[in-house]
Symmetry: C2
Subunit: 459 residues, 2 copies
């Protein structure tokens, strides 16, 4: 549509000329996310306060233009991509940690704060914010709220929704609400907090988040466990979870993933390795020591080739850096990937491994799998070249097969990336038409004009 001179001037007045742009080359920077899809916005605004967000949305309702909230643009399903154009509202200037309340174990933060900044700042005070998506060094907490981000530590600690006590948010009308509580418990009316968490910026623009914190675990122990088959690794995961020990992470890298990151590891891969588990324990020092021994024994009883325990935090960090680099490094294989974050029940992981091997065979495409095995959340990447129409079609077919198998195993098509734009057509297969009608009804209650991030989750 492009913005008329009058609306554009009003936006300039709200956030200042320097915080608004409609230059094509600048708009291009806010046209994509990690999916690689690209839809050009008509303008991009960087509000500095809740007040400005409110004025922008009020103007959007009056003038009936689209607003698409965006953090760092590291999403995996196009959640922040302006698929219908409009104004992209970037929260990165609202990047203050407002308060870390050590007595009550809560932090109040603005949406544009980088997640790893939260980790660092609270850990300085011996506190702990568990959710740790792989993009934590770049992604914003606002984006994590939008998609209900997970990450490796969810095995023990849960996901973003479990740490959001309350929100301040601006409705499409410009009205500001304060949801939830600043206390450990609260049930005053419907749970609007958790309704907004995971709503992918379609219901409200979050302007302040009250996070629940935990005491920082005393000790962390990181282990790398190597197997000569994916099957054995998968069975080890399912048996580890049956112990009375819940590791904070059980990550899984298949053969292809392992060789992609080989060069950035601080050790040589054992001969014949086909799968790696990264198992991380935390808690009381003595307890962690005892559990690590038990898990080591369990791994060997499942034919592990080798179990390496990181000597110190630096060595552990190197392992994690390699793991976290996986998502971008995969483009070495092909120019494009369909990255699906399916989840299956833990004891169905071995079945899922078989399914992905089968899909690789039938599609003739490379399928790279890694992910959060401890909660059954496998990131399955189907690699293809977009320019090759046949490859693209085979990749699409492979995704269809993958999702069908996932649902058949009692799983979900998205554990932590959300539906965004890429999974819109698959959502009805999982949740059915009645639920989608309810969700559309809820969307209308919050956003009767459909101006806030339209085209996401459902059509």
């Amino acid at each position: 549509m492009g913005f008329s001179g009058s609306i554009y001037r009003q936006l300039q007045q709200i956030s200042g000329k320097q915080n608004l742009t409609r230059e094509r080359e600048e708009c291009l920077c806010y046209a994509y996310d990690a999916t690689g899809t690209c839809f050009l916005p008509d303008a991009v605004i960087f509000p500095g306060s809740e007040k400005e967000v409110s004025l922008i949305l009020k103007l959007a309702s009056t003038e009936n233009f689209i607003v698409v909230p965006r953090g760092a643009g590291s999403g995996m399903t196009g959640g922040s991509v302006p698929v219908n154009g409009g104004l992209v509202l970037v929260t990165t200037r609202m990047n203050q940690i407002l308060d870390i309340d050590e007595n009550n174990f809560i932090a109040r933060v603005q949406p544009g704060v980088i997640v790893s900044d939260i980790h660092n700042r609270v850990e300085e005070k011996d506190l702990f914010y568990p959710p740790d998506p792989s993009s934590s060094s770049v992604c914003t907490i606002g984006g994590n709220i939008g998609e209900c981000a997970g990450g490796p530590r969810a095995v023990k600690y849960g996901v973003t929704r479990d740490y959001v006590l309350g929100l301040r948010a601006v409705l499409p009308s410009g009205k500001v609400i304060q949801t939830g509580v600043r206390t450990a418990k609260g049930v005053a009316g419907y749970d609007l907090t958790r309704l907004i968490v995971g709503s992918e910026g379609t219901l409200a623009v979050v302007t302040e988040i009250t996070l629940k914190l935990l005491p920082k675990p005393q000790t962390v122990k990181t282990m790398a466990v190597f197997f000569d088959s994916m099957q054995k690794a998968a069975e080890t995961v399912s048996h580890t979870m049956r112990q009375a020990v819940v590791p904070r992470c059980i990550e899984y890298l298949d053969d292809a993933s392992l060789h992609l990151v080989e060069s950035s590891l601080s050790f040589a891969l054992p001969e014949g390795v086909k799968a790696l588990l990264i198992i991380e324990l935390d808690g009381d020092g003595d307890k962690v020591e005892k559990d690590a021994k038990n898990i080591q024994n369990l791994c060997f009883s499942h034919d592990a080739l080798e179990v390496m325990i990181a000597k110190d935090q630096a060595e552990a960090q190197k392992l994690w850096n390699a793991r976290k680099a996986l998502s971008p490094v995969m483009y070495k294989i092909a120019t494009n990937k369909m990255n699906e974050d399916i989840v299956v029940p833990i004891d169905k992981i071995p079945d899922m491994v078989r399914v992905t091997q089968e899909i690789q065979k039938t599609s003739g495409l490379k399928v790279v799998s890694f992910g959060h095995a401890g909660d059954g959340n496998i990131h399955c990447n189907i690699m293809y070249h977009k320019a090759d129409k046949d490859e693209f079609e085979r990749a699409e077919k492979a995704v269809d097969d993958l999702f069908a198998a996932t649902l058949k195993l009692g799983g979900t098509i998205t554990g932590e990336h959300g539906v965004g734009m890429t999974k819109v057509k698959y959502l009805p297969q999982e949740i059915g038409g009645t639920q989608i009608e309810l969700m559309k009804g809820i969307k209308r209650v919050f956003d009767p004009q459909n101006i806030l991030n339209p085209g996401k989750i459902f059509h």
Copy 2:
């Protein structure tokens, strides 16, 4: 209204003659909950399956009559009381534990299962379902879902919402939905699961619940700590939570509560005691031992009169039985109570203690406080005789003062009992008109005819 012969006959056909009644004396049994308020239903039905629930609601939509879902009727805010008459739908016949899946740490249960039956059955398999409201030996899991029940273990483990992975539920139209996932993670669309949890039976009738389970903690240690002032006990709570140890419970009993249960304790109260903390630790044996010592030292450094550690489970159980009996035993003081489950930030508990003492003075009424101090959740009981109009008015004024002080301290008016009918008039003070309008909008999406438990949460 009373049911016409034709509708009544159709209901008889759905659930069988023996599972439906409109006899006044039988209806009376389903006219109240633990608040003591009484509104007579027109009929009571006991469906035996989801199919029957669906047919009942379909008929209710067609014929436009009210349906009020009910579990055991142990609620504290009138959530299941048929304030506008209609058909009470009692879920107690749907009382099957359908599946306990040890490999995937989940249980599937029907809404009428008694919560302590879930505890017992999963613990036999070395699993653990943490939420444990005081009424657990009588209340149903469906009611716990409706109100998002909490209980003492929420300090460490969170509340009901944190253990509900997915639901099957019947909408007022009779349509059945299946929300959420059967896996550890899932973000497929808006979070309808947690929207229904805590919605007090106003959005849908839950017919099946998928619960997340944990490994059963190896050891549990229960301590009774006595103080000569409520203030010192409150300060100890706030300081305990600053340790890197999170007890699974920190319960608090004031002077009045203590003397109410004195006769059922297995030990004599120490001289001069004015407050008791019950602190319970769980986890690995050695770690629990170490933590118990640390906490004992901390308590003595806050002038504890005495710290008793339960020798065995039987002794601990006796302490808990006394604690859990508190709610009913309070009627020894007066015929009625206003039982408010306020929550304040943990470090504001000492302030809240001062407030309740002040309210006791100004109202001239006995105020008995106990509750889940570890998460700031105080059950504050204002005792009065309903027949005494002046006492009733003073009690109402005392509640106004209590809520005003709670909100001023950054708290919430309900931690785990819900709004029901008793807090409808107070809700706007906490969450404001805009949020209430959103909630009403959501209610209309689910229940356009307003036939499901009307008159609750908001007018």
